[in-house]
């Protein structure tokens, strides 16, 4: 016999054939996944093509990129050579986007939880069934409780369109961690003081000195931002880094201020007092453009160099040195506004102090200062305005309870969570979670779990499984940032000192989504159809959505594609021209060192330091930050990135460690002041580069969800140990550096010496 049948031996096969088992009949019912195709000789699809129009979302900096695609397969990501922002560079995370796209753990199909929340059993279901369930459950909530019965937790560029729909539905309570666990105070306090939000638009390359308070550029890698910092150093700018830890930025600094954690506001007030005292602030600017200069002078007078030095536990000479350095180089100094600000629960005031220091140095709208970068603008997509029985703005919890008047957009998460648990002042019974892992973002996880348990319905949409996906009733798989259209990125050349240019890019897919992953426009339109809102759907699909956003620019997806993904035009310098007056969009039209609006709401009208609780005996304050190759928990399952940095070593002072009998590489757990012990462990890193009163770990590790097979239980989750909540009255944002820990090794609790 010519056929070399081995174990699939012909006798067995023959007996089957003879037995007349209706295999072919059974098989015919199912259709086939493989079909005849034109014969293609090997090698003919080996050519790699470059696909443009990508915009990274491994973090939120949105670098422009291109993909090398072979056949259907994305094989490499690179910076878009046309980019005037990140250029051809991508960071480690940007490169590792490929591992996200092709992560076998990723969500692939819509799923229904037929087990319990938190301990799910999944059934793969069709989109039709999934969306029918979502429409039915959300409508039931609306019928019973009104749209206020629905809450939304969201994050990321993909939520633009879904949010517009939730607004149309009249959902009053939405929460985004980008504001409430990150930069909410930075934005709101700057707005309140200066009348604009500088974000991180700080002209570091053209500065003569830079002040970074708790800002560790280089550990948080945002490409053009890091380039700005490094260019500043290269150009001879003197960097001052204020941090309890010898961070990557501190390692590049001319002056490292090893400040006691929680004392940053006092430090800023002390600097201002010294400058006032010596008369070395920018008098002409402050007099002309600031409101409340004299009141501020009086207010900070108590912060003498000696008192500041003693409170901050730093040398008095260092305060003088920093103040002199900044004053001498004003206005060309970069007082960095920072980004993540939710530290101690008194952070609005710290950012106000930062803004005031910037103001009295006149360090804005000029080389080296914070600058108002002039970008192109693009549009929004709105659903039609509809009348709701209850005004969603009035029904928002913070509004109803007249709390947190200086809060960023949305509802403070703990306020929402309290309501989800108590049902007061009204029941919230359905939750939509879109692209955020709120188990990791909100302090006091057991409260979050309690709130989740209380829901009638939970819909979660994400790209990968995360901790919160385990709580979904319906789980929908979203196309990743490399597989969909959405975000419009607008910016300028990265160095403001260079010839002004503006760019605009729209995110375009580099590859088609695999499995049954869908883009958010499709998902929302299909949901809206099922909820009876078909006639109000504003755009048919994601391409139309992006073209709508581009409308006012005269650009389209097709035009951008011809331009290799990026449109560039001449720009405008952000520096004031000679004789041009700065404008401030505050109530008074001036920089409000003294804020009447704050006084009206019974908050300090001048930036004020409030004491932060000290660690109990045997404990050290737990501080956290970023890991340069990770974006919080988002990259916790990325094989390449986890291989580079698999866990978050515990930084502990070397002398303390010696007393505790700890050495580098020891495995330890942490236990907080309330006896909460970390679920997973990490390794010890002993270093003189951290104070004795604190320990440090990078955030985003210690994943709980075993579905994230790469990142599961690697390192310690800092948020798990956040059991103290300290919501500040201005914004409703809780500090997250107000918890204290000690070490557990081999089951033995070890106190941390003071």
């Amino acid at each position: 016999m010519a056929i070399n049948l081995t174990r699939r031996n012909f006798l067995k096969t023959a007996s089957i054939a003879a037995a007349g088992i209706p295999l072919s009949k059974v098989v015919a019912k199912a259709g086939t996944g493989i079909a005849k195709a034109p014969l293609i000789p090997p090698g003919s699809f080996k050519h790699t093509k470059t696909v443009t129009g990508g915009i990274c979302e491994m973090c939120f900096w949105r670098c422009q990129l291109v993909g090398k695609v072979r056949g259907d397969r994305l094989v490499k990501l690179e910076g878009n050579p046309k980019s005037i922002d990140n250029g051809q560079n991508l960071c480690a995370r940007g490169n590792a986007g490929i591992k996200l796209v092709y992560d076998p753990d990723r969500l692939k199909y819509p799923m229904k939880n037929i087990g319990k929340r938190g301990a799910p059993k999944w059934q793969k279901i069709s989109w039709d069934e999934a969306l029918n369930i979502c429409a039915d459950k959300l409508q039931t909530t609306i019928d019973k409780y009104g749209p206020k019965g629905i809450a939304v937790w969201y994050h990321g560029a993909s939520t633009h369109y879904p949010n517009a729909y939730f607004d149309y539905l009249g959902v009053p309570n939405k929460y985004e961690p980008a504001f409430y666990q990150c930069r909410g105070q930075t934005a709101m306090a700057m707005m309140q003081t200066l009348g604009f939000v500088p974000n991180e638009d700080v002209d570091m390359p053209n500065s003569k000195a830079m002040l970074l308070v708790g800002c560790h550029i280089g550990e948080n890698i945002h490409l053009s931002h890091v380039k700005n910092f490094l260019k500043g150093l290269e150009n001879g700018s003197k960097a001052v880094v204020v941090d309890p830890r010898f961070s990557a930025a501190a390692a590049k600094a001319h002056i490292w201020v090893k400040i006691k954690p929680g004392m940053d506001t006092a430090f800023l007030l002390g600097l201002m007092n010294y400058m006032f005292d010596k008369g070395i602030y920018n008098k002409s600017f402050a007099k002309k453009y600031c409101l409340g200069l004299n009141r501020l002078k009086k207010h900070v007078a108590e912060w003498t160099v000696e008192k500041t030095a003693s409170e901050c536990d730093i040398p008095a000479a260092q305060i003088v040195e920093v103040a002199e350095l900044l004053a001498k180089n004003a206005p060309n100094v970069s007082i960095h506004p920072g980004r993540h600000a939710a530290w101690y629960g008194n952070d609005f005031q710290r950012v106000r102090a930062n803004a005031c220091l910037t103001a009295i140095l006149g360090a804005m709208d000029c080389p080296g200062g914070i600058v108002r970068i002039k970008r192109m603008s693009s549009g929004h997509v709105h659903w039609p305005e509809v009348e709701h029985k209850e005004d969603p703005e009035e029904m928002a919890l913070a509004e109803l309870e007249e709390k947190f008047p200086f809060r960023p957009p949305g509802t403070p998460p703990e306020l929402m969570r309290d309501t989800m648990i108590s049902g007061k002042p009204y029941p919230i019974k359905s939750l939509i979670v879109w692209g955020t892992n709120s188990i990791k973002t909100m302090p006091r996880q057991e409260r979050t779990e309690k709130a989740l348990a209380n829901m009638d319905f939970i819909l979660v949409t994400d790209v990968t499984p995360t901790d919160i996906t385990m709580w979904a009733d319906i789980l929908l798989p979203e196309a990743s940032y490399l597989e969909r259209y959405d975000h419009i990125e607008k910016g300028t050349q990265w160095n403001q000192g260079d010839t002004p240019q503006q760019f605009l890019s729209a995110r375009m897919p580099l590859i088609d989504p695999m499995f049954e992953r869908k883009d958010p426009v499709w998902m929302i339109n299909e949901l809206a159809r099922r909820m009876g809102h078909e006639k109000d759907i504003p755009v048919k699909n994601q391409e139309e959505f992006v073209n709508h956003l581009l409308k006012e620019t005269g650009l389209t997806i097709a035009k951008l594609r011809k331009l290799d993904g990026i449109y560039i035009q001449p720009g405008e310098s952000p520096y004031l021209k000679k004789g041009e007056e700065p404008k401030f969009d505050t109530d008074s039209g001036k920089i409000e060192l003294y804020s009447e609006a704050m006084e009206d709401e019974d908050f300090p009208a001048l930036p004020t330091y409030t004491k932060t609780a000290e660690p109990p005996k045997g404990f050290a304050r737990m501080i956290y930050g970023r890991s340069p190759v990770h974006t919080f928990n988002r990259t916790a399952n990325n094989a390449w990135l986890v291989r580079e940095i698999p866990e978050n070593p515990l930084w502990i002072n070397d002398e303390s460690a010696q007393k505790m009998g700890l050495k580098d590489g020891d495995r330890v757990f942490l236990e907080n002041q309330d006896g909460k012990k970390s679920v997973s462990s990490t390794v010890v890193k002993t270093t003189p580069g951290i104070r004795k009163d604190c320990v440090f770990i990078a955030h985003g590790f210690g994943t709980f969800n075993p579905a994230m097979t790469v990142g599961y239980h690697k390192g310690i989750d800092d948020n798990e140990l956040n059991t103290i909540i300290n919501r500040e009255g201005e914004t409703g944002i809780s500090g997250m550096r107000i918890n204290f820990v000690r070490v557990v090794k081999d089951g033995k609790v070890i106190d941390i010496p003071a």
């Binding site: 699939r8 295999l23 059974v26 086939t32 087990g115």
Partner: protein, 199 residues
Amino acid sequence: MKPDTDFNRETSSPSVSTTLADIFAFLALLMRYPEKSFFDDEFLDTLENLLDKLDLEPLRQKISVWRSSVDDQLLDAQVEYTRLFINAAPHLIAPPYGSVYLESERSLQGKSTETTRDFYRRYGFDVVNKAEPADHITLELEFLSCLYRQEEITAAETFVRTLFLPWFEQFYQQLMPELRHPLYEVSIQLISYFVQEDQ
């Protein structure tokens, strides 16, 4: 078409390769997400019948016991399939894609996926749904079925030896400790039965 083998001429039954084509198509179905369209009594009867003819009585019994003890067999199979092969808590047991096992880091759409699809195309086949990686176990088994149907026996042998077995064995090992469900325990053993070399 190649001529029938001598063996086939001696019998009035369908050719060996046609039977193998049917068998592999059936094996492919066993590894497909169970849907109402095909996953019915007739399908399970056929499975039992096949096991019976192969003298794999202990396996047949497992299926039979499972069928009599579970009311909604479709839902039961769907949930287990999802747990083993799609997304699951506590975690996905064994993604059924070749590249996850063949590449240095577990990943979809690896170089080996490209090689696999290349192989399909060289024999005039391609995947219908481009959203699925070409090296899903179901697609590979279907492709083998297509090769047998075209009497490309040598190609099928080569495919099994060079692209299927190298990962199937690791896949099987990874699944083994979790193979509690009779349907999938039997399905995997049956596939193994038809692809493993004689000892």
